[in-house]
């Protein structure tokens, strides 16, 4: 399998009044085609920042200092660096090639638009040509149908509409529809585009197993339950069949039984669509359920990347081991990690984990460990290996 995304030496810093926050520090990570990669870590370890960096959505004082994110465009079979793209090109990728599901479904949806409108927005932005084509076919059907008694009156109008939609389906941003869309009232003449987008949105809602999708599409977010909202958000993210779906703690705010439904859905997305999923979570149980490979992050660096079985059966990094011991399990004494999470303002030199590490050596205080492969599909950032 080829790598869909290769992150190399990525550093993200926030220049604040209190100092420089090292949010991500020399991160190396690759996401393969068709796999679910989990990122596990505690609050402030840089999980969400990694996701936002891939989409280039870092909030204000944050800056990408160095590194590269190589993205493989499967349609055009070429690679490019996401960090070097212009903002316009990046906008064409967000929601289209790479899309994201956010943590809180209630906050991710706009409260004043219906679910259907919000999903069709994705199509209107990224799939205009396809919508134009579908709309044209609809007008064609009307023309060939003959129509009722008023048809002869409407016919010239339909012909004009066909020409308009034909243009939309072929050109990237044709003049006439663009001009119309800026005029009040006249923009209504493009209603068929929106109609087609709405139909696609309902199909998408059916795809994520929402019962009675046509009715749900005309509901507002507050009328849906948490699980339904999360399904709608996932539908929105999947609308353009992205190559990479980033899911940022998609089940954290849900109940256990709803979470189980959601994990089932994510597993189905992977098998049906063959999309790669970057699954961010702090719950080790969830990670073991859905992921193929897992990366454990601590203070902006990944300490360990391995396949699920390898990681859960043979955790190698001291932090990974400590994290597993802290998970409550029946018939097990709870172990705690001494000390507190590294301060991102002035992180400890060398390995970030060394002040809390039981196996710390003198070299850990001076040198940053590199990501090393210790066995097949198992990489560790630690001086022990």
């Amino acid at each position: 399998m080829k790598d869909l995304i290769r992150i190399k030496d990525l550093s993200v810093r926030f220049h604040t009044y209190e100092g420089i926050v090292h949010a991500i520090d020399d991160l190396e990570l690759d996401i393969r085609q068709g796999e679910t990669l989990g990122i596990v870590g505690e609050t402030g370890s840089g999980k969400t920042m990694t996701a936002l960096t891939i989409l280039r959505l870092i909030p204000y004082p944050g800056k990408i200092e160095s590194g590269s994110i190589i993205f493989l465009d499967t349609d055009r079979r070429r690679e490019f660096d996401l960090l070097k793209l212009s903002e316009d090109k990046m906008r064409a990728i967000r929601g289209n090639k790479i899309s994201m599901v956010f943590q809180e479904p209630g906050a991710a949806l706009n409260p004043v638009y219906t679910i259907g409108d919000q999903i069709s927005e994705v199509y209107l932005l990224h799939r205009r040509n396809e919508l134009g084509h579908r709309a044209k076919q609809r007008v064609d059907n009307l023309l060939s149908d003959g129509g009722g008694p008023v048809a002869s009156v409407k016919r010239p109008f339909w012909r004009w509409q066909r020409r308009l939609y034909n243009k939309i389906s072929q050109e990237s941003n044709p003049f006439e529809p663009r001009f119309l869309s800026h005029l009040p009232l006249f923009r209504r003449l493009l209603w068929r585009l929106k109609n087609e987008a709405n139909l696609l949105a309902v199909d998408m809602l059916k795809d994520v197993e929402i019962p009675d999708a046509a009715r749900v599409a005309i509901h507002y977010p507050h009328e849906l339950s948490g699980g339904m909202k999360q399904r709608a958000v996932i539908a929105m993210a999947l609308a353009c069949s992205p190559d990479l779906l980033i899911a940022d703690e998609p089940t954290t705010s849900l109940d256990v039984t709803i979470q189980a439904q959601m994990l089932e859905l994510f597993r189905r997305i992977k098998t049906d669509r063959g999309a790669s999923v970057l699954f961010i979570t702090h719950n080790l149980g969830v990670a073991s359920e859905v992921c193929d490979r897992v990366s454990v992050m601590y203070a902006g660096r990944n300490c360990e990347v391995a396949s699920v079985k390898e990681l859960f059966l043979h955790p190698s990094h001291p932090y990974t081991k400590a994290l597993f011991d802290a998970v409550p399990m029946p018939g097990k004494e709870l172990q705690t990690i001494p000390g507190e999470l590294a301060d991102p303002l002035n992180p400890p030199p060398g390995c970030r984990f060394h002040p809390r590490c039981p196996n710390a050596m003198p070299v850990c205080q001076q040198e940053k460990p590199k990501l090393k492969e210790i066995s097949k599909d198992h990489m560790v950032t630690c001086h022990l290996f």
């Binding site: 505690e42 609050t43 339950s225 699980g227 339904m228 109940d255 256990v256 039984t257 709803i258 979470q259 189980a260 439904q261 994990l263 089932e264 702090h282 719950n283 080790l284 149980g285 969830v286 990670a287 073991s288 359920e289 699920v308 079985k309 859960f312 059966l313 400590a322 994290l323 597993f324 011991d325 802290a326 998970v327 409550p328 399990m329 029946p330 018939g331 097990k332 709870l334 172990q335 705690t336 990690i337 507190e340 999470l341």
Partner: protein, 344 residues
Amino acid sequence: MDIRKLKKHFPIVGGVLRRPVGAVKAVDGVSLVIKRGQWLGLVGESGCGKTTLAKTAVRLLKPTSGHIYFDVPDEVKAEIEELESLGRNNSKLKSLLKENDLATFSGSRVRLFRRNAQLVHQDPFTSLDPRAKIKNIVGEPLRIHRILSGQALETAVEELLHTVGVSTGQLNRYPHQFSGGQRQRIAIARALAMKPEFIAFDEPTSALDVSVQAQILNLLKELKSEFGLTYLYITHELLIAESVCDYIAVMYLGKVVEMAKPEEIFHTPRHPYSQSLIAATPVPDPERRVGRIVLPGEVPSPANPPPGCTFHPRCSRASQECRELEPPLELISENHYVACFHPL
């Protein structure tokens, strides 16, 4: 603590006259016994009434009906039950209830009771006053109950913070200067201030990270053995309940559906809901992936619960009986109660 047939309904008002048009049955007939020194885990999904039950148990809310006994001898309870079966209008019954039933207490008597029972809230980021110093937050219960003041109060607060593992040099700081785990420790110190016998915890670790969660759970264990406390521990994470509690009650839509020892609940659950809840819990072990039961649908609204067994619309074993009758909570083996017509 003995809770009997406790109900808490919140009215839904409507119309111009704000008349009640319905009720949210948050807690609908729950009976629970928490023995002295026990660590009872209350497990359930959001909206099933766990928090309401805890708040009613420490009388932050007044129950709609039912009894709450705290440290009341069995003979008195039996007498009340006997009198109740005879009829409601009985002056002796009324005086007995007034003496013993927490549900009827008000004002100063409730305050007196709260010296013995405290609640720790879910989110340490909202449960501490952002404009109060730590010493005032922790010392507030002692001041309200007029137990200590001045220098004595300050030493007591220092001692409390020391017990929960917050360094005492931070007395004059504000909550925002602490991390989540430390704030939860401060909230626990506040609950301990009155030296209560009973503490109710409302999801104390749900806002915390795994490693911090382990620290807090270990702290609770230490405190319990040190002070001989009794805990009511509310959580939605079954793994936590299984690993720390002595006894577990599973709630669904305002009712307790199963009560048993943790080993029994997890290895031989008898109620279909507990079974699917356990099966749905993700376990950090990639080899245990198989055998999941995914429940269809969602929890119904407590304002309009389904008739009969409230779980029947999502249950695979539901029969006609379940749709019509409400299953009582019955003892089926030692210390194991189930409310189901067709237990597994």
